[in-house]
């Protein structure tokens, strides 16, 4: 038969399974053992014997905190006050997006092992629409609400209901080397042009002693922080991301375009090293802490670290102020911060509320402000004498925090944010990109997303 003779022409090589060397099995075994590693010790604290009420375990999903000791102490105090409630923390990655994906994955699955969680201010519409967060209208009475900064309550609301209690407030701030500005006889800059001139003089003057000194460091990686940074430039130039009614994207407007152009032409590779395109908060802060930048944009938490002598080479030589505007007299700070929320699938909403009340209470916020440098959400703390002794910078924050700008509020915000990140990152990283055209394409894309949400302001 023909096909047999044909096949016989092919070299006859036995296709026995590849001979795997003996050592391979051992190696594979060894590596498996190594990669599995030791199991994490996750022992749930046992409620003390003889507690009057049935012991309850609350599960608190949180990101990995910057100050774990302060958190451990705070939760220990809670357990002291409520002996029948033990709190097990489930720590997610530090990155806000990674934390979002993990938390929403649990909530999508109606996971009852989540009781309390942190909610980024930009997630409220999404969590509200998806039905993941309990409504807190009844629990947080109007008189209690008034004790918080209005902006922090406002971001926790969505279509007339309250979903979150503010744990803190965050807004973009300008940190600067007060020693260097004094040395060159400058007063803190109020516009970006002024900042650029000062930075240029200082960098040139310091060239011989500090050759790696740059004017500015901030967060320009393709991630959520990029949106905050660019929002500040755009609003600081009289532009905006969306129309006032929140239904249309306005990136192609002249002010917004000019602001992005400024960052591309003057900041990236100019005032700031091009490396800023890879920076999130920690990397950009470390540049500043090592004395490699005159100005730095960050959230309030950075204050404690800049003055922490074990981590900072510039402790005591830093001051903080509102970000400058591109246009004289304008300043804009992106509003951030974290809200406590209760999962809609929690089986212990009352105990969860007790935990939230405790952690967002005056005593605990004061503790976090004093020991972790976190800006409180309670108004009274901004004039608390004890606190102002250790955190005098709080006095400077209040105006900035009151007028901070929110990012677009939409249940599809993650999608809107991705579109913004893409546009900003492409604008800053790709040489010769046609900004106007790119902005128009992004506007159209975001408009389509916003139209889906049925005009949610």
């Amino acid at each position: 038969m023909r096909w047999i003779s044909f096949s016989q022409r092919i070299p006859r090589i036995s296709v026995s399974p590849p001979r795997v060397p003996r050592w391979f099995g051992l190696l594979a075994l060894l590596l498996t053992v190594l990669s599995v590693g030791r199991p994490q010790a996750e022992s749930a604290p046992q409620p003390g014997a003889g507690t009057p009420t049935t012991p309850i375990t609350l599960r608190f999903v949180s990101w990995k905190p910057d100050h774990p000791r302060v958190w451990d102490e705070a939760l220990a105090e809670f357990t002291k006050a409520y002996p029948h409630i033990s709190v097990v923390r489930e720590l997610a990655p530090h990155s806000s997006t990674a934390y979002h994906d993990l938390l929403t994955q649990k909530l999508k699955n109606r996971d009852t092992t989540v009781d309390v969680f942190f909610m980024d201010v930009i997630w409220v519409p999404e969590f509200a629409e998806a039905g993941w967060a309990h409504r807190l209208d009844e629990r947080l009475a109007p008189a209690m609400r008034e004790q918080f900064l209005p902006a922090t309550i406002e971001v926790g609301r969505y279509s007339d209901h309250l979903y979150g209690v503010p744990s803190r407030i965050d807004a973009g701030l300008l940190y600067y080397r007060s020693d260097l500005l004094t040395k060159y006889g400058f007063s803190p800059p109020t516009t970006w042009d002024e900042l650029a001139r000062q930075a240029e003089t200082i960098v040139t003057g310091e060239q011989s002693t500090n050759p790696t000194l740059r004017g500015y460091t901030a967060q320009f990686k393709q991630y959520e922080g990029l949106v905050c940074n660019l929002l500040e430039f755009i609003h600081g130039h009289g532009g905006s991301l969306l129309t006032a009614d929140g239904t249309h994207s306005t990136l192609a407007q002249p002010e917004a375009l000019a602001a992005v152009q400024f960052v591309r032409d003057r900041v990236i590779g100019g005032l700031a090293s091009r490396a800023a395109l890879t920076y999130q908060e920690p990397a950009s802060l470390s540049v500043f802490l090592q004395g490699h930048a005159v100005f730095h944009r960050n959230w309030p938490y950075a204050w404690e670290l800049t003055n922490n002598r074990t981590r900072s080479t510039i402790a005591g030589q830093v001051a903080v102020m509102p970000l400058p505007g591109l246009t004289e007299g304008r300043t804009a700070a992106a509003l951030g911060g974290w809200l406590y929320g209760i999962s809609a699938y929690s089986q212990h909403p009352d105990e969860a509320w007790a935990l939230i009340e405790f952690l967002s209470g005056r005593a605990m916020q004061k503790k976090f402000a004093q020991e972790a440098g976190i800006a409180p959400s309670r108004q009274a703390l901004f004039s608390d004498p004890d606190l102002l002794v250790v955190a005098p910078q709080l006095r400077n924050y209040l105006d900035v925090l009151r007028s901070a700008t929110t990012r677009p509020r939409s249940p599809l915000y993650p999608a809107v944010s991705h579109a913004l990140q893409r546009y900003f990152s492409r604008a800053l990283a790709i040489d010769g990109l046609d900004l106007a055209q790119e902005a128009a394409v992004t506007d159209a894309h975001i408009d389509r997303l916003l139209a889906l949400t049925g005009m949610t302001p």
Partner: protein
Amino acid sequence: MSRSASILRRRESLAAGTMVAPALLVTMVFALYPVLDSLWLSLHDIFIGLPQLGSPFVGLHNYAALLRDPVAQQALCVTLAFVVLSTLLELACGLIIALVIHEQFRGRGLVRAAILIPWAIPTGVASQLWRYIFNDQYGFANLLLFGERITDYIPWLAYPGMAFGIIVLADVWKTSSFAALLILAGLQVIPDDLYDAARVDGATVWQRFRHITLPLLKPALLLALLFRTMDAFRVFDLVFVMTQGGPGDATQVLQFYGYQTLFTEGRIGYGSAVSVAVFLMILALSLTYLRAIGSSLLERRRT
């Protein structure tokens, strides 16, 4: 064919079926079901953040939108560039490594083990490693190139082209040894007498490689190519850890785009369409390869 023979055959196929059944079941549950479920989801419009919209059936609408989506097109280009570059480099490096560790020399066992280490390191860890190596301030690459001249340090990952190149480099570093392993297996089945005969005939090293090793290695090379292409198409961890798709979408690959739409944006229908599209592309590629490899292998088995 006699009757008893047909009964025997039927009994044999029954036994075969019984033995294959558990594997088949596992495949069904863990491979087929998710694929079909994704396919089903991709025919709907589902937004996690907008439950009031329900989950209307939209047919192939998501796929039509995908074809017009500039981000997806860009991601496809990046993915294809990644697949072609990384696969070719990995095959080349894998071939060289395999030829080296196929030779007899002192300490060969140790070298073989060492070569496998990159492959055994979890990709997430390896990605973090490479991110540190190319860090702008304390990265090893800068130290190696510029030493103490810190003003010359390059922010590697801040340039779109370089960031892409580094992702490819990290992948080549990590998986060349896997290709090497497959190719080594191929080398080991080439009978030594062929080389002896060639040597007697006066063939040079290059001639032996060109006319014996390479042709006989073809099935192994194709197999390595198949595995590496499929794997490269699914690249995700490197991008997730090192660049998050940036800068300026230069490392935005299809799988990461699918992940973003599905998990972060909560666009279940569209995200599923992206995954299914990737699945179909890999399937088409595999079938093409399998036809190339499989036909010759099957033919040989029959003789």
